[in-house]
Symmetry: C2
Subunit: 322 residues, 2 copies
Amino acid sequence: MVKHTPRARAGHNGEPEFVETLRRRALVPRGSGIVLGIGDDCAIVRPRGAREDLLFTTDLLIEGTHFLRDTHRAGDAGWKALARGLSDIAAMGGEPRFCLVSLALAEWTGARWVERFYDGLLELAGIAGAPLIGGDVGGGDRMACDIVVGGAVPRGSALRRDGARAGDGIYVSGRLGVSALGLASRRGAAWRRHKRPEPRLALGRFLRRRLCATAAMDLSDGLSLDLYRLCAASGLRAEIDAPPVYPGATLEQALHGGEDYELLFTVREGIRVPERFQGIPLTRIGRMRRGEPGRVDLSGAPLHRGGWDHLRSAAGARRSQG
Amino acid sequence: MVKHTPRARAGHNGEPEFVETLRRRALVPRGSGIVLGIGDDCAIVRPRGAREDLLFTTDLLIEGTHFLRDTHRAGDAGWKALARGLSDIAAMGGEPRFCLVSLALAEWTGARWVERFYDGLLELAGIAGAPLIGGDVGGGDRMACDIVVGGAVPRGSALRRDGARAGDGIYVSGRLGVSALGLASRRGAAWRRHKRPEPRLALGRFLRRRLCATAAMDLSDGLSLDLYRLCAASGLRAEIDAPPVYPGATLEQALHGGEDYELLFTVREGIRVPERFQGIPLTRIGRMRRGEPGRVDLSGAPLHRGGWDHLRSAAGARRSQG
């Protein structure tokens, strides 16, 4: 998955080169059953003889970065840990199959907190059909969780970031900026959405099966950064208009706010995209074009990449590794 | 995998109950393709139509617990992170297929350290045939790494902890106590073995294919604790004599020292076990018996479970969660 590591580190000097180096060094031998390694929401693995491809994603949830001890309940943290991983499975049109959870427990995480963390996690695991099948536990200074989600798609059918073609329409689900609004206001429906994001699993499968989407990814780090990544992966540029904004959020939050966990996808011209899927708006925001790979123009002017940077935004932000 | 969480937490009051509760709550629906969930070295997943079962394990490597910043080089930490996961694959007789790595980077982990961490990790990944296919990066107070290793065995053939039968011979590979000796002495071959353990992958496959081992697990937490787990999982007790001790190590280190990453296995009476496999001694230490599940007798007297407890042993040990 590209998260290793541009998601966390885009904007840090030197880091993209490091990731590119790592990706080159991590070259996968032919015949190993690895369809896709570092570079997308999930890695894709083809087991011998299987009718399906398996998807794997890992996501860290770290105290101070992805949740705040003071404002997030344990159950919310557990829900969000899994939701982040499930959203990556949704982005590829996959069906979740299982999860594993590694926990580094801080001094303050008592038995009740841990139990409630699992309450939230297992609640979503039950809804999503991703039973917990393993993990590990250790001690740390901050509470940190690494979630692994395994999913599946029919062989060869995973939605990837690199499949968009010139002329394809660009769409987003939902109304953007809700998570940033929730984090800023700490109240109401937006705050609940921030704490308990709902991975778009059914929508992801709909995009794969019915709309034959050419590319898809989840909006975890903000539209401006994530659309750049989709364009760069597909070797194209994009022209967009303002995306749909969540009531009360600003355009800035909708463009650059992270953690909306909506889906960004491209569809060939001529395919009819419904206005809604299970109540979630699907909005055309622009079109893929030939040109400078990764460039995004909003209403005719270049859009800067101001997306969420987990490290830069972290309470305990680390200095650049570059 | 049982690591979730008895491996890390055995001996903490209340923790076994918590794990048992978690295991019950994490019940896996029928037809989901999950052959084995929480409770062994790896989880076992059967993809639809596949001729093979997939194995998954996650292992945390945390600064101050599993490696020390002052004494472990970055490359050694990267090697060890992956070796821990590969050892779980070896314990099930599996062939590694891929790995994913999530890194929580501490303030002190600069670009060079991270690069060298990957040097060590990718060196072992290349040797073991487990290409790096993804991961995540975030920031933390201590450096922590969660490694995921995926492996495979022919359908239905994974070696588990729960397959031992009364009358089976009990064996260990290698000479035990080397890692504890290395950690205590900080020099020589034992120290090198502590820093760069060699997962017994070829041996694991040999146990599965040639010896039809009835049960196996890796010695990550010490013979006394790990044999207890194998006995408890198989519903049997064990009678053993002193295991082979690494030259210079004490019997105490051999019985209770963790991180040897040798294999503990059981074989039916009548199957000839060679004295060595690829230069590694294979030593019969006792026999499985009917009786109180989990009980281990050494030379006729009950053996206390003094195995490695990562949390209790950690520099920054956390209080019990129980």
